[in-house]
């Protein structure tokens, strides 16, 4: 198998695994389908935007949970936004932990003050899933770059 074919196979296998393990869902396909000759780096650009926004949101969340009195509405707003952007790029596992986090925040508003360490645990799960998908996507883009550098094209 020559270099290009090998890289193509590596790309296909790696992408398949991301879908099978639930890191990505159909929405990521939608994103790839928006990419064309007039905008050949669209996916990388949008995902980079997602990484920037996510890091900002995670910082805001950490800050909000450090406060003496936690403003759960603020926490909920940040998690909601994170859920939205992760859903838009197809980052399914991040979206799911955001949903779980929000359900917990809702409970807070109804039942009053609960131990904040549960909130921190939710945040840790979100951070973990985010760093996993970030790592996976960076690897995906690296393989794509190698394939193009070797003179190959990304299989559709």
């Amino acid at each position: 198998m020559d270099g290009v074919a090998q890289l193509q196979k590596q790309l296909v296998d790696f992408t398949d695994s991301l879908f099978q393990e639930g890191f990505l869902d159909e929405q990521f396909n939608q994103l790839q389908q928006l990419q064309d000759e007039s905008n050949p780096d669209f996916v990388v650009e949008v995902v980079s935007l997602f990484f920037e926004d996510s890091e900002r949101l995670l910082n805001e969340l950490a800050k909000a949970l450090e406060q003496k009195t936690i403003d759960f509405r603020k926490v909920d707003a940040h998690v909601h936004q994170f859920k939205g952007s992760s859903s838009s790029i197809g980052a399914q596992r991040v979206q799911k932990v955001c949903i779980a986090f929000r359900n917990y925040c809702e409970e807070q508003n109804i039942e009053g003050v609960k131990p904040w360490h549960r909130c921190l645990k939710c945040l840790q799960q979100v951070k973990l899933e985010y760093s996993l998908v970030k790592n996976k996507l960076e690897t995906l883009f690296k393989i794509e770059k190698q394939l193009i550098a070797a003179g190959g094209s990304i299989p559709t």
């Binding site: 928006l34 064309d36 935007l49 926004d53 707003a77 952007s85 838009s88 790029i89």
Partner: protein
């Protein structure tokens, strides 16, 4: 998305000349303008690109055929924004685009504020095409 799919969608909503008079160009077709309202830059980028791929420009200073309205925005939510736009006399198609609201009453309120359509996020091109069908019916 093959170019065939995109072409079919464009024909479906009328932005591509079907008669062949214009030689397959957009000259004999409908021109559609749109405005994307979303406080999240990832969503705004994606929605704008979807529209652009269908031959629709995201414009600010013209009369819009279509407004995509996000529900949850911190300063003014989609319900208030829709109401304000209708009060201002905006007659564009306003489509609410939001995650499935847990509260059915909220969704009803959103529709009653003046929406023509509502689609759940994440937005896809087929959902956008189904919103754009409303344009032909409204004209």
């Amino acid at each position: 998305m093959s170019s065939t799919n995109t072409e079919n969608w464009m024909k479906d909503i009328g932005v591509v000349d079907l008669t062949g008079v214009g030689g397959g160009s957009t000259s004999a077709a409908t021109k559609i303008t749109a405005l994307v309202v979303d406080d999240d830059s990832v969503n705004q980028t994606i929605h704008s690109k979807m529209l652009e791929n269908l031959g629709i420009q995201n414009q600010v200073e013209t009369i819009f055929d279509l407004i995509l309205m996000d529900m949850d925005m911190p300063v003014m939510n989609g319900i208030e924004a829709t109401r304000k736009l209708r009060e201002m006399g905006v007659r564009s198609i306003i489509a609410g685009v939001s995650t499935c609201t847990r509260d059915e009453r909220e969704q009803k309120e959103f529709m009653e504020a003046g929406l023509d359509d509502f689609q759940e996020k994440p937005l896809t091109t087929p959902k956008l095409v189904s919103i754009l069908h409303k344009l032909n019916k409204k004209c």
